[in-house]
């Protein structure tokens, strides 16, 4: 079984926002991938973006500059 690692997990209000994040990150070659929202963060069944732990303020700024909307940014084991 794959070992869990600490990641920065970004959750979104809608699936479309998660898809937009994936598209933008792929375009700009940002490391990360879409995952089901970790159970510890939400009882919903949406998608989240998981990437290596970064400076979350810097990431927030990067997302705001690109009009990417999000719900929360948290570190968690995935």
């Amino acid at each position: 079984m794959r070992k869990k690692e600490m990641k920065l997990v970004i959750t979104f209000h809608t699936t479309a926002d998660a898809m937009a994040m994936e598209k933008r990150c792929k375009t700009e070659k940002m490391e990360g991938r879409l995952i089901p929202v970790p159970r510890i963060l939400s009882a919903g069944c949406g998608m989240a973006w998981a990437c290596p732990p970064l400076d979350s303020e810097q990431l927030t700024r990067w997302m705001q500059e690109r009009h990417l909307r999000y719900e929360s940014i948290q570190e968690c084991l995935v």
Binding site: M1, H13, T15, M19, P36, A43, G44, C45, M47
Partner: protein, 361 residues
Amino acid sequence: MNLTSSKKMLWASGAMLGGIAALLAYFGNPKNMAICVACFIRDTAGAMKFHQAEAVQYFRPEIVGFVAGAFLIALITKEYRSSAGSSPMIRFLLGVLMMIGSLVFLGCPLRMVIRMAAGDLNAYIALIGFVLGVATGSLALKKGFSLGRAYETKKSGGWVLPVILVGLLLLSVTTTLMASSESGPGSMRAPILLSLAGGLLFGAIAQKSRACFAGSVRDILLLKNFDLISVIGGFFVVMLIYNIATGGFHFSFSGQPVAHAQHIWNLLGMYVVGFAAVLAGGCPLRQLVLAGQGSSDSAITFLGMFVGAAVCHNFGLAAAAANAETNAPGGPAAAGKAAVLLCIVILLAIGFGIRKREDRQ
């Protein structure tokens, strides 16, 4: 107990769901219906006289149990969150469409898996349609489909549906207001307390494991993630063992209870369900669970399914089951076939017409 901590726990939670379904079938629910969400919403709509199909009228305690079980476990584990405001009328419409597709196939995704576990080859044809429907919905998501975000609302908003359902259940057992089938699937029922307990437990486990038939296929297609399908795998294995052990396993197209072998309509019926479920954010079971944990949007989808069930029987859209004695092949009538085609057109318009750009305006 964390039901999502590992794949094994997800398989185990699916097996528990299967165990409950098997128990209810053993104690009187229709054998290869067991705990079908669409069929039971249809029976409940019939009991409340929203339609007059005499064979399918019974206020199913399981439906109350699904919602109340998810509601209680969400309250206990502090996951209850009252929310609303994500295109409610489109969700209502998606609920209606999901029910039309389900009643043309004769079952929701949950019953599709139960029928697969009983060897019903028609359900395997329907599975192809379901996967294609989920794939089309996933494509719409990739193209930017969104119903918009939900917003937090007053806590009491999420209490309304569970409280109303419990109230209606009390009415159904203490008065003669509700209709009750004397023959047909509606007359087949497990003892009421067992049905309610089974429904409560089923709803609670489904809430903790996030069981969703459409979500599990969507996650495979979009995320290459096999977590949610593990729940369905556990459910299938237990139902398969139950059917083999009780002599209910028959590997065939014909002779299956409450089913028909009109392949194209089985396929298209479940195509509609898979497509609509992805756009609505969950299969019929998941909608009840989300409604229980506080989503008024999912409660609206449930109302859409309820009204859809009545529409199907009042306007002759529901398929007829094949009958071996009269050699009737069953399947949907012309109205049902037209309705399925119209559902697909509406879903394409919703899925590829409502884009994220509109959400931003």
